[in-house]
Structure formats: structure tokens, C-alpha cells
């Protein structure tokens, strides 16, 4: 039986090592430029680091992929093509791309380079996946997190293209490649600049009780502090006080930065008179409980999300998924979710619940 592959994220060289040492079959990286969807300051690899990453992967008999999946505009095509040339020079095993101009360039100039269609292509049906194969010889498509398991099974049965699905990590509610919310609020988005809700647009104002988060002057959230005592500084902790624990040991900026995504904001639905987190739940994607089913319907690879996360995450997440996959193949009938994996997940993703997203229904 062909074993499902495990493809893992790395935002820097240490993360590459962590993923490889913990059982990744392939590691995917991005260059430090707007050519990929995690174009954050201090993240991604220089050419020299990427060269080392390729050497490390190949020494272990593993694969390295480069992500070039933003959509180049008017004056950006040449730099996208240069990134492809660089990836080829590194000897990478595939590039993960979205834009047709990039695919056409690869077919013309590097016909042997395998093309993996990025999740940003939003390829949610066999017809579209077959379009990529027939027109650009795409080898693999990363499915968007919009499909049920039954729909994935239908796709697998109706294409010869290898199918990769997200197994672990962030769970965006948007249809990949078709979300312009960040562009609407900030003028930059994943498609255009490789960045969703860039922290540089984030601002917050704190008063005695609350913290108001703003993204480019638009209020995304008001984190309400203590309503029982005089101020959040004196609060001893009570249900509903969202900011206290992040304040008492000093300011934790990452708490705010992680709440910057527009879809995770708090809004008022004026039509039905509700207020709350109306778009997004505080969840992460965790498919450990349906791993058997995903393997049995014939998916070819599992992807762990999270190039933007710390290198330790790349190691931990890879190890958990590796153990789970190996556990399944050791004896499919006896596969069960190990409580230790779940315990580790709750440390990796504090205060977040696990979800299978749309896989079991929407």
C-alpha cells in the first residue's frame, strides 16, 4: 500500500531541521519576498538558507518544496519568474504555485519541475483540478479547506492528479484565493502582497477597562476587561475577562497580534441584533480523529499548516502527525487517537478548540 506523505511547514532553517528530524517526508518553505503567502518580516528563507535546507532534506532522502503562491501583478512578473529560477537552481523537488503565468513559465523554461497547485488556486472540484493537469501538467493539488470528506473522495476518484489535504493547523473560514477582506481594510492581501492583515496596520487603545483593536483605523474588536471590580488592573479573574491573564504578568503583545485577523473580529449583526465572533470560531484544524477515513479515501499527502509559527511547532506538529500516520499503517483496525497527542496539541494551541472544519459537514 502506498503510504500517505507528510508535508510540513518551515519558516526558517531551524524549522526545516525540526520538521525533518521529526518525520516529515517533505518540507515546504518560502523565500523572503512577497512571492508567497507568509510574507512577514523576519520570516522565510534567504537563498543561502534555502540551499542548506535543500541539502539537509536531500541528505535524508526527503523533499523540499518552495512556495511561490501570491499573484504577481503588472511589474512583479519578472521577480516571480526569478524566484522560480532560484528554486530550480536549488534543486527543489516541486514548487507550489497559484498563478497561471508562473505555471506557464515553468512549463516553458523548466518542464521537468513538478508543479503543485497551491491551496490559493481554490481548486475545489475534479474539473478544475483536471484543468490544471491538462493545461499545465500539474502533479499535485492542495485542496482548499472548504470540502467535506465525501467531496474529497469524489475528487480522488475523478482525477489522476495527486491530492494533498490540510491535516493540522489554522482553519481559515474563507475560500482560499477568494478573500479580499485584508485588501479591503488595509490595501494589502495574501493574493497581492502575500500577507493577510499585516501587523503593521494594527493599533490598539487601552483604557481602564477595555482594549480596542484597530486595523488601519477600522475597529476589529473591543476586548472587554473587568466589569466587577474597579479596573482590569485589580481584577482577580472572572469569566468573561478576556484580557486579565494577558496583562497581569506584563503586556503580551502576541496576544493582540494574534487577534488581528478581520475574520476573527467581533462584530454586530444589525439585521438580527447579535454581537460576537460572527465569522470565525476559536478553533484549529485537527484531523487526528478522521485520519483513517482520509487515508482510506485515497488522499496522497497530509499538509501541516504554519510556516509563520515557531520552529518548535514544526517539530511538534510533525512528530504528532508522524506518530499518527505510522500508528495507522502499523494496524489500521487498531488506530485510535492517542490522548498524549491531544494533550500536546492543547499546549501548542492554547485556548483553542480542535475542529475538523468542513470535513464532516458545514
Amino acid at each position: 500500500m502506498k503510504k500517505v506523505q507528510l508535508r510540513c511547514p518551515a519558516g526558517n532553517l531551524p524549522a526545516v531541521k525540526e520538521a525533518l528530524n521529526n518525520g516529515a517526508d517533505a518540507v515546504y518553505i518560502g523565500f523572503a519576498s512577497p512571492t508567497n503567502l507568509s510574507n512577514f518580516s523576519g520570516l522565510n528563507l534567504s537563498y543561502d538558507d534555502a540551499k542548506q535546507a535543500a541539502a539537509q532534506a536531500h541528505e535524508l532522502g526527503k523533499e523540499l518544496y518552495v512556495v511561490i503562491n501570491s499573484y504577481p501583478q503588472k511589474d512583479e512578473l519578472d521577480s516571480a519568474f526569478e524566484s522560480i529560477d532560484q528554486a530550480v537552481a536549488l534543486g527543489v523537488d516541486a514548487v507550489i504555485v497559484s498563478d497561471m503565468a508562473n505555471m506557464e513559465y515553468i512549463n516553458r523554461h523548466h518542464p521537468e519541475l513538478p508543479i503543485h497547485c497551491s491551496v490559493q488556486t481554490g481548486s475545489a472540484n475534479a474539473e478544475t483540478i483536471n484543468f490544471w493537469h491538462e493545461n499545465f501538467k500539474a502533479d499535485c493539488v492542495v485542496l482548499p479547506r472548504v470540502l467535506s470528506v465525501d467531496e474529497i473522495e469524489h475528487i480522488v476518484k475523478n482525477t489522476q492528479v495527486s491530492i494533498e489535504v490540510f491535516a493540522l493547523g489554522s482553519l481559515c473560514t474563507s475560500y482560499p484565493g477568494r478573500c479580499n477582506v485584508s485588501q479591503y481594510i488595509t490595501g494589502e492581501s495574501t493574493n497581492t502582497r502575500g500577507v493577510c492583515t499585516s501587523p503593521k496596520f494594527l493599533d490598539f487603545k487601552e483604557d481602564e477597562r477595555d482594549i480596542t483593536l484597530r486595523l488601519n483605523n477600522i475597529a476589529l474588536n473591543k476586548l472587554e476587561g473587568c466589569q466587577e471590580s474597579d479596573s482590569i488592573y485589580e481584577c482577580k479573574g472572572h469569566q468573561g475577562c478576556e484580557v486579565l491573564q494577558h496583562r497581569k504578568d506584563g503586556w503580551d503583545n502576541s496576544f493582540i497580534v494574534n487577534k488581528r485577523h478581520v475574520c476573527k473580529g467581533q462584530f454586530i449583526n444589525a439585521s438580527v441584533g447579535t454581537k460576537g465572533y460572527l465569522m470565525h470560531d476559536n478553533v484549529i484544524l485537527n484531523t487526528l480523529g478522521i485520519l483513517s477515513r482520509l487515508i482510506e479515501i485515497g488522499v496522497d499527502a497530509f499538509k501541516i499548516e504554519g510556516r509563520q509559527r515557531p520552529s518548535t511547532y514544526s517539530g511538534q506538529a510533525t512528530r504528532i502527525m508522524r506518530e499518527a500516520i505510522d500508528c495507522y499503517y502499523a494496524d489500521p483496525e487498531k488506530y485510535r487517537v492517542n490522548p498524549a497527542w491531544e494533550a500536546e496539541m492543547s499546549v501548542m494551541f492554547p485556548e483553542m478548540n480542535s475542529s475538523v472544519g468542513p470535513y464532516l459537514g458545514r
Binding site: 493545461n135 469524489h154 479591503y184 493574493n191 488601519n216 467581533q266 439585521s271 459537514g361
Partner: protein, 304 residues
């Protein structure tokens, strides 16, 4: 480039879930005396809203064709089932053409019954540069509807270098995101699978405000739109200078005919753009925006 030619007006596919009587009234009566050259029909967001029968569609196409208007079917932007594909295959031949919003629909065009359809490259195809657009010239597109978020400069570059006429959205609540989740169903504690077409109760979508009370988004089922109305009435001359062939007006519940008429008057030089903006203000209850045209945040408004 289209600099010397007249800019045409097209009516984009109706958003929300208006119900059959409202849709028939809109296409057969409200648009009857408007100065439009093309109309797009079909729900790009949710297949469950495709409630018009083949006979209804034939009737609408005939009524509009009689007035010299081309009628296109707009495909879904996100399709995950065979049923949805088969529906498009079934109804597309009733129309003059097909707006393709998902690449998979191109596979369908190999078959004879679709050979005579005029092809429009839809805004959800993510054609951000001229090379990608030019790749699709093999399908002989009549024109390309620019992705919502690209600037006029980029749109003009695509049109000039790909030599595909370009259509730009000039009026409407902008599509800012599609989701696997139905936000309308979620707002009333229903799942997408068991929504019972609850969006029918919200023919203007659901207004989302910020925690400070500012209008920010409009919920349209699986789609999140801008609450503000994207309006280019002050910049129609710039569109002409940049070779735009067609402007798209997204319909809204009521007053679409007045909006079309106003833009048509400005395009013909019969009405002042600034005065028109004032006239149109009541039809944009959350205010105007057009920042994307200038490479800015979409919610901003740049005056002429």
C-alpha cells in the same frame, strides 16, 4: 485600447436571494427601459438560489434580447458537487454566453452545444496579470471582468497587453470574501446544509457593524461584501482614458434603473459627475468607497 470607443454598461448577477417574483420583475420590468448592453444572470454564490426554471430563463433572455441586450449566464465561483456543474451545463446553452468564474467550467466548452457561447472571463478567476489573462485567449473570451481588488493601473495593463477588452465594476457592494461557511445561516443558528434558504428573508443581505457602530460588511450567504457601495461615477472619464470597455453595475433591491440611468448620463456627458454622486448618495446607505481602483484600502473613497 478602448479610448475612442463608447463604454458599455452591464448589469452584474443579482446578489442575495430575491426569490422568483422579484427576479422576474427585475429582469422583465425594471430593466425594460434602461440603457444597458449586457445582463448577467445566475447566482455566483450559492447553487440553492438558482430558483428560476428553464422556462423563466428563456422568457428573460427573450425579453432582453428583443431589446438588443446580450444575456450571459454567470457560473458559480465555488462549486463542489456534480449537481452544480450539471446545472450550468443544462442552462448555459439558453444564453448568449457564459461568464466563467471557475476554471473547471472550461472543460465543458469542449462539447458541441457550448461552441457558440460567448465567453466572459469572470472576476473570480484570479487573473491578476496580462500573461495569465492571455493564456485563456484560447477560449476566445469576449472580455475579462477584472478581479475586484486590482487597481485601474493593473487592469489597464492587462487590457493593453493581453488585448482582451476589460470590464470593471463601477457600482455595488464589493465581494470581499467567499467562505465554506454560510454566514447568513450561521447568524440564525442553522448549518449550511440545513439552511432552508433562510437568506430569502434578507434580500439586502445582513449588515455587519463594527463594535463602534460603523457599517463594515454585508453578509450574503457564503459571501462577505463591503457595506459601502463601490462607486466610480466620478471617475468614468479615467476609465475611458485607460481603455475600459464595459462598466458593471451590481443590482440592488430597488433603484437599479435610476443608478444605470445616472451612470449612462455621465458617460454620455449629459450629466455632471459630482452632481451625480450627490444624487446617488441615498442609494448607498453605508456610504461610498473606491479605494481599490487606486491601489488603496478598499473602504477608502477617492474623489475626482
Amino acid at each position: 485600447m478602448n479610448q475612442d470607443k463608447k463604454i458599455n454598461i452591464a448589469i452584474g448577477p443579482a446578489p442575495y436571494n430575491w426569490g422568483k417574483p422579484q427576479l422576474l420583475d427585475f429582469y422583465c420590468r425594471e430593466l425594460a427601459d434602461t440603457n444597458v448592453q449586457a445582463v448577467y444572470i445566475g447566482n455566483t454564490i450559492c447553487h440553492k438560489r438558482n430558483i428560476l426554471s428553464r422556462d423563466d430563463l428563456r422568457k428573460i433572455v427573450a425579453a432582453l434580447n428583443n431589446r438588443g441586450i446580450k444575456v450571459y449566464y454567470s457560473s458559480l465561483a465555488l462549486s463542489t458537487t456534480s449537481e452544480e456543474f450539471n446545472y450550468v451545463k443544462d442552462v448555459a446553452p439558453l444564453f448568449d454566453g457564459l461568464e466563467v468564474n471557475m476554471l473547471g467550467f472550461f472543460n465543458m466548452l469542449k462539447h458541441d452545444e457550448f461552441q457558440n457561447l460567448e465567453i466572459i472571463l469572470g472576476p473570480y478567476l484570479n487573473l491578476y496579470n496580462w500573461r495569465s489573462a492571455a493564456y485563456l485567449k484560447k477560449f476566445k473570451p469576449k472580455r475579462l471582468v477584472a478581479p475586484f481588488e486590482i487597481s485601474l493601473e493593473n487592469a489597464a495593463d492587462i487590457a493593453e497587453k493581453s488585448q482582451i477588452p476589460i470590464e470593471l465594476t463601477a457600482w455595488g457592494n464589493l465581494s470581499t470574501a467567499l467562505s465554506w461557511r454560510c454566514y447568513t445561516a450561521r447568524a440564525v443558528n442553522r448549518s449550511r446544509e440545513n439552511c432552508d434558504n433562510i437568506c430569502f428573508k434578507y434580500p439586502e443581505g445582513m449588515l455587519l457593524k463594527t463594535v463602534e457602530g460603523e457599517d463594515l460588511f454585508r453578509i450574503d450567504g457564503l459571501q462577505v461584501q463591503s457595506a459601502k457601495t463601490h462607486c466610480l461615477v466620478e471617475h468614468l472619464d479615467k476609465l475611458k482614458e485607460n481603455g475600459v470597455s464595459t462598466v458593471r453595475i451590481y443590482p440592488q433591491l430597488g433603484h437599479t434603473a435610476e443608478i444605470v440611468d445616472t451612470l449612462a448620463q455621465v458617460l454620455e456627458g449629459k450629466q455632471d459627475a459630482k452632481a451625480s454622486l450627490e444624487y446617488l448618495a441615498p442609494y448607498a446607505p453605508s456610504g461610498f468607497c473606491n479605494g481599490w481602483l487606486w491601489g488603496k484600502a478598499g473602504w477608502e473613497y477617492v474623489a475626482a
